[in-house]
Symmetry: C2
């Protein structure tokens, strides 16, 4: 999987959070996942299917960061990861993947998106079961971490 | 979503666990999900995209049940939900969805599967973010519970 495939997802998350929550995340260096495990308190997942490829994407947030995004969007912070927060994480997952899909379409890559699923639970781990490479993009902020993980087969 | 769409997933899970682990689960009554939340210690998720529909499926297992399936398959039980267990849950998720896909193709329903993702973490919850109905199928065994949740849009 080349870097041209990774950057649209990175840019798309920064763009979505800046637009929706005026929140600036600091992206770390994307890397091929080996032992590293995506871990968070609330994660959005989405499947992708294209003519030449299929894959999955996850975006995991620390609780503090998810709640700060809600506070900035609604002016009020929920005390816990409630249904409003999981709705927001599902929506962010959709918007980030949709934004990347549009950027990638310009380069001739094509895929359709399934519907998102949101997982919540303290420090859960996410493992993408694919034969293709797994790219992990870490993000930091003073409110906590976020991690995107993207996997595509045959790319 | 009609019952003809649900039964293939139910049958497919029973069949996969009987074949792979000689384990018989007792299916409960499938129901439309309202307040009920799919909860488990390890879950497999997969996205589905078809010409007329898209959706998501999850299969959640209690830790005790996941470990018992491993014991029956390998003759040895892992102490915790390790990589072997998440590999197995990813494989079961693929097999169950693939089995249901074949049954549904006979009825003219068609979809492609994304790659599976496995989540682990004690008592995590799963929320499918879709506008379509969400069907939940509970399964019981003396080793713990399993839950399938299926969501399709436009069906």
């Amino acid at each position: 999987m080349d870097v041209n495939f990774v950057n649209p997802f990175l840019k798309s998350l920064l763009n979505v959070l800046e637009t929706m929550a005026q929140l600036e995340l600091k992206p770390g260096k994307p890397g091929l996942k080996k032992d590293e495990i995506a871990r968070g308190d609330v994660s959005g997942l989405i499947g992708m299917v294209g003519p030449q490829t299929k894959g999955s994407l996850s975006i995991s947030f620390d609780k503090g960061l998810a709640i700060e995004i809600m506070r900035r969007m609604l002016g009020e912070a929920p005390e816990s990861i409630n249904e409003e927060v999981t709705d927001m994480v599902g929506e962010i997952t959709n918007m980030v993947t949709g934004g990347a899909k549009r950027l990638l379409a310009e380069d001739g890559y094509d895929f359709d998106m399934a519907t998102p699923v949101v997982v919540s639970g303290p420090s859960h781990t996410i493992t993408h079961k694919t034969e293709g490479p797994k790219v992990l993009i870490p993000f930091t902020s003073i409110h906590g971490h976020a991690t995107i993980e993207i996997c595509f087969e045959n790319i």
